[in-house]
Symmetry: C2
Subunit: 337 residues, 2 copies
């Protein structure tokens, strides 16, 4: 159902992205292949790759917001390509920073080409995301393009702020809920907010309308990240594709964990152990369950989810795209815990 | 003399850059300090640092081109800040990629804060360079801003292309002169060209004038890099601040070396040795000298330097800034070998 909704958008998105990435000259040996690989277009040898990689939720959200705000989604394709390229830039650098060997069941870029090349491949996608945005110049007023660019610039800075906090939290004994919300607002929600705001701005050229969409996107992004945190502990490995309680094993300071750490000295002491066995993981999850942390976290998710829906209502989305937008939201939140 | 020329520009440039960097919220612990350190404003603890770090040649070139093309250099300050921030982004990532422990006689960002933080600090400067450019919106026509932005975007992509080739050359047995020129055009000269083009475009809002300045900057950048290659082998350590024949010791495929490698099997065999002693370095330099590589490289430098001056003549720079531009060029090329 969802795949059916997304198909027409994705074909054109893909074409737009490929055109932008083709700005890398073909006679530069070994350069484009890293980007094609990261974007799921090829394997590490440059041969076509046909398995799904990224879900392309962000550009889809952007295109639907453009249409729902009264525009034509085609107009917003350059911006949709830009946010997807920017997202992939952040994944490449993130994987180096987290020392993650795999993504979407494939080796990460740094794992194949080394860290130095992966840093540069990420930088190239960062650069290409701005190149993509140029495409809007043909179809929106200069003042709208300027505003879109400013939102995009601020979003890239928010990404780095969030990433900084996320890395810092690893070495911080306690993290407050407010600090956590500030971190995910930058690292995860800012880009979702930008998708909704930029899409609706391109669609409506009306900053007041776009402000409602931005509010919708920001809260949606926060709710989505909190849900991800729940799945990282209580998610069904068959559905999430990750091992059970993966966030406990990696001692990630996700919302359930930081809440648990500040309410349970026992959990804090488990977390201070030098090595972390499967028995420790089971013990930690049991402590969280006993404290009612899952309920607490779900309440937080619901709080931001409802705020997102209220903002969307205020944005007064129109036409078929309004229904498709709700389908996208429900699809995001319909994932089993 | 040169310092005197630069002083009024640098005070305002500094103020503009500080305002842009202040977009990083102050309540993010440990984030801004990395950027202040990289920009030479503070030591690693955030305390004021008063020794010179970067020479800020690029923004000065941009400002002088704005004035020489008929504008007021103040108008171009946001763009000057943008190129300097972009340059520093590339240095931070470069130092990680090259595994360089020091820059400007201080430990590099990654050496102090680790690679993960340094990647993110570089990304933040990349982002801030675009934020800086926004400042032009108040003073140039929207069509000029759009064109400046496109030049800037293309330049960032060129930087990554050049960086890719530079890293690739390390593992490539032979590198042709054409390949080398393509690499330095991206890695070094593209940003110098962008400074001249963007500055003159802001100053004149005339793309034909800016094209001459771009040609000037590109050739100047190539000549400057070739000169740097000469200094990397034959430079006086007391003047360059680097050890003698530093590029030989690091086996960098600079222009003299790749020319030597393709003309001297003896040099090629020296370069294939597993370890590289001071005696090997002396031998390699002697082989280059015997081949007349220094003369060859100086001829190449002169060729591009003259092309730069011819393009500058075609650009017809005006007023006091025309003389200052020549002073800057002569200062760059007046460094002792």
């Amino acid at each position: 159902m969802f795949a059916q909704l997304a198909r027409p958008f994705f074909a054109e998105l893909d074409a737009t992205m490929r055109q932008v990435v083709s700005r890398i000259p073909e006679d530069v040996p070994g350069f484009a292949v890293m980007l094609h690989y990261a974007l799921g277009w090829s394997d590490e040898n440059g041969l076509p790759y046909h398995q799904a990689t990224g879900k392309r939720i962000r550009p889809l959200l952007l295109l639907l917001c453009a249409q729902a705000a009264g525009g034509r989604w085609h107009t917003a394709l350059p911006a949709a390509a830009a946010v997807e390229l920017l997202h992939n830039f952040s994944l490449i650098h993130d994987d180096i920073q987290d020392n993650s060997p795999t993504r979407h069941k494939r080796p990460t870029v740094w794992k194949i080409w080394g860290e130095a090349n992966a840093i540069n491949a990420g930088d190239a996608l960062f650069s290409l995301s701005f190149c993509a945005l140029e495409g809007l110049a043909d179809s929106v007023a200069p003042s709208t393009l300027l505003r879109v660019w400013q939102i995009f610039n601020a979003t890239t800075l928010e990404l780095t702020r969030g990433q900084h906090l996320d890395m810092r939290f690893e070495h911080q004994p306690t993290v407050s809920v407010d600090e956590y919300l500030s971190m995910i607002s930058g690292k995860s929600a800012a880009l979702i907010a930008a998708c909704a705001e930029i899409g609706s701005l391109v669609g409506s050229e009306d900053m007041a309308v776009a402000a409602h969409y931005a509010e919708f996107g920001l809260n949606l992004g926060i709710a989505f990240q909190i849900r991800d945190d729940i799945l990282g502990i209580w998610g069904d490995p068959n559905v999430t594709g990750k091992s059970a309680a993966t966030d406990i094993l990696s001692r990630k300071k996700s919302l359930p964990v930081l809440y648990g750490l500040s309410h349970s000295p026992e959990l804090a002491s488990v977390y201070q152990r030098d090595t972390f066995t499967p028995a420790d993981v089971t013990e930690a999850v049991a402590l969280l369950d006993r404290l009612g942390v899952r309920d607490y976290t779900q309440q937080q998710e619901t709080f931001f989810y409802r705020r997102a829906l209220a903002a969307l209502e205020n944005a007064q989305p129109r036409g078929e795209a309004a229904g498709q937008l709700m389908q996208l939201v429900e699809n995001l939140f319909g994932r089993a815990y």
